[in-house]
């Protein structure tokens, strides 16, 4: 970095195209992506698929959240609303309407996006902490709606959601069949987010994050870009929620509770904000802790809190952020 600025004036210009990038992935990112795909293929033979599927749903949720905070600089503190609404709508669609799982999940994503459009439109006009508080307040409204609305069954939630047949053809009752479907869904969502970041739209988003008044002065209606990003993030969160309800078989108030919004912040922060792989690793860490430390009961929350404090104090860039800094690559 520093060498470029001190280059003597006579040196010829570097080629304007970063030749080492492949589909927008740097070399390090491409290696990490291959490792991740390999892990997706190998892990179900060693670990409990049910656990892995849940992990992937939360990983996708965290990636969607990271799209907003890491690349647009918007801290939404109400992402549980989109995740939870996606979860309920997909559950209802699969159980009551008898939709195939992929349609149910898509419908969950659509409901997240619609909710995101309404809430984003209100929240986007405010900055910083006010933005976070408005998103939280709106998400609380969704929580109380879900507590009262008849189709969510209040405290009971929607239970015994059928996994159904993929496209009406492939039976997903076997864990491994469902696993491949969820793994594919996660990978598609992950790649979509990567594409959003590395699109002409993503360039404008980055510019807005870096210097919003300057982006405005170049003629960009920054609020519109932020709103589109918000809707995309909420939509992907809805898909993650829908997938989760199909995987676990229940949709409950936990999915829309504000602690879920806090958990996704923790996942992204732990993994590394604004990194491509950080939220995935962060979600993996948190979900693993919740699963394997379950015997400790309420202590899990305490341990999580300690890890959070440690993370903020010792490695602020998150796990992936710190690794990237050590290896001097972008991950």
């Amino acid at each position: 970095m520093a060498s470029a600025t001190t280059a003597p004036p006579g040196t010829p210009a570097l080629p304007p195209v970063a030749a080492q990038s492949f589909l927008g992935f740097t070399r390090a990112q491409a290696i990490a992506l291959l490792l991740m795909i390999a892990a997706l293929i190998v892990c179900p033979f060693f670990l409990y698929p049910q656990f892995l599927m849940k992990l992937l749903c939360f990983a996708l949720f965290a990636c969607a959240f990271n799209l907003l905070i890491g690349y647009v600089g918007l801290l939404s503190f109400g992402h549980a609303a989109y995740f939870g609404m996606g979860s309920y709508v997909a559950a209802h669609a699969a159980k009551v309407w008898g939709l195939t799982p992929e349609l149910a999940i898509l419908l969950g994503g659509a409901s997240g996006a619609v909710l995101g459009l309404a809430f984003g439109w209100i929240a986007i006009r405010r900055q910083g902490i006010y933005f976070a508080m408005i998103t939280l307040a709106l998400a609380q409204m969704v929580y109380f709606f879900c507590l009262q609305a008849p189709f969510t069954h209040g405290e009971d939630g929607i239970q015994a959601i059928p996994r159904g047949h993929l496209l009406g053809l492939i039976d997903l009752r076997a864990d491994m069949s469902l696993y491949w479907f969820i793994a594919g869904l996660f990978l598609a969502g992950f790649l979509l987010i990567h594409r959003i970041i590395h699109s002409p739209f993503g360039q404008v988003l980055t510019a807005i994050r870096e210097n919003e008044p300057r982006a405005t002065s170049l003629g960009y209606r920054t609020d519109d870009y932020k709103l589109v990003a918000f809707v995309l993030s909420a939509g992907i969160a809805g898909i993650a929620g829908g997938a989760k309800s199909i995987v676990v078989g229940i949709a409950t108030l936990t999915d829309v509770h504000w602690t879920m919004s806090g958990e996704v912040v923790l996942m992204s922060l732990l993994g590394g904000l604004g990194t491509l792989f950080g939220p995935v690793l962060g979600a993996a860490t948190i979900v693993s802790m919740q699963t394997y430390l379950a015997p400790f009961g309420a202590w899990v929350t305490v341990i999580q809190g300690c890890i959070f404090v440690l993370c903020v104090l010792a490695f602020r860039a998150g796990i992936v952020g710190e690794i990237g800094r050590m290896l001097r690559v972008r991950l």
Binding site: T5, A13, P16
Partner: protein, 280 residues
């Protein structure tokens, strides 16, 4: 197409005025909770000219600038750009009409490369870049023009460096290249030489002179030497009001202007306190 034409006809009709003046304000006023920052300012910026907006600290120059670029809403008054009332337009819209501003603190996108900084502006001509499904490889077609613009401001060698790592003077040059990429009709520069070393100042002055060809420039500037050498006309603001307007040589002899500068804090004129006084 927007070059200054000295031709004048003896009629005050609207069309003629629009042809002569690219930007006009009438009774422009901005109040902040009872404090009047800009009061009843009427400006006329001649097409193809370099117009300076000067005044002591706190005179309301930057507020005025923010009003003209629509980053602030005026309390009262009208702003006409190219014969069109822009008083209530949002800032992004005004920018798309060709009225593009720079900022006092250098405004680059620090984590984007120098090339990408310029490309963000060139990308404007695609319209709204809402296509999140397309690869950013489509933006490579702007690379050539971005490099040409960087060449114009002497930044070719820095193309791949993150903009945040550039030295201060180069950041200002990059900002001008980014502004130029929009092919502005009217460029508004907010203190382009603020906080610069002497050689950097000279370089920016040369650059502004060059890029002013075929367009209009309105600049806020503290350094009177820069104003004297560059501007065709100046407007002096004090306490939010227009004190004097006209060519530098004329205005700088105005006793009220001298009093405003020397009477307040002479240091505001930076390294060239002699500027106004010398003409007295």
């Amino acid at each position: 197409m927007v070059s200054f034409q000295p031709r004048r006809r003896r009629s005050g009709n609207e069309a003629d005025r629009v042809r002569d003046y690219i930007l006009e304000t009438e009774g422009l006023t901005k109040e902040f909770r009872g404090f009047v920052a800009v009061s009843d300012v009427s400006l006329r910026i001649r097409r193809g000219s370099i117009h300076g907006l000067i005044g002591p600290n706190g005179a309301g120059k930057t507020t005025c600038f923010n009003l003209l670029t629509k980053f602030m809403q005026p309390t009262r008054g009208v702003i006409r750009y190219d014969g069109r009332d822009i008083t209530r337009m949002p800032p992004a819209r005004v920018a798309r009409l060709g009225l593009v501003r720079s900022f006092q603190i250098s405004a680059v996108f620090p984590h984007l490369t120098v090339l990408e900084n310029v490309r963000i502006a060139l990308q404007r001509e695609r319209g709204g870049s809402y296509d999140f499904w397309r690869s950013d490889a489509v933006l490579r077609r702007y690379d050539e023009r971005a490099m040409a613009l960087l060449g114009d401001v002497g930044l070719t060698t820095y193309a791949q460096a993150p903009a945040g790592t550039l030295p201060y003077g180069r950041k200002r040059a990059l900002e001008i290249a980014t502004t130029l990429a929009l092919e502005p009709v009217l460029m508004l520069l907010d203190e382009p030489t603020a906080g610069m070393t002497h050689e950097d100042v000279d370089r920016i002055v040369e650059l502004v002179r060059r890029v002013a060809q075929g367009r209009t420039v309105l600049m806020v500037e503290h350094n009177l030497k820069v104003v004297e050498g560059l501007c065709d006309a100046i407007t002096v603001l004090t306490r939010g009001r227009v004190l004097a307007e006209g060519p530098y040589a004329e205005v700088s002899r105005n006793p009220e202007v001298i009093a405003a500068y020397l009477g307040s804090d002479p240091s505001v004129s930076g390294g060239s306190q002699g500027g106004v006084a010398a003409h007295a």
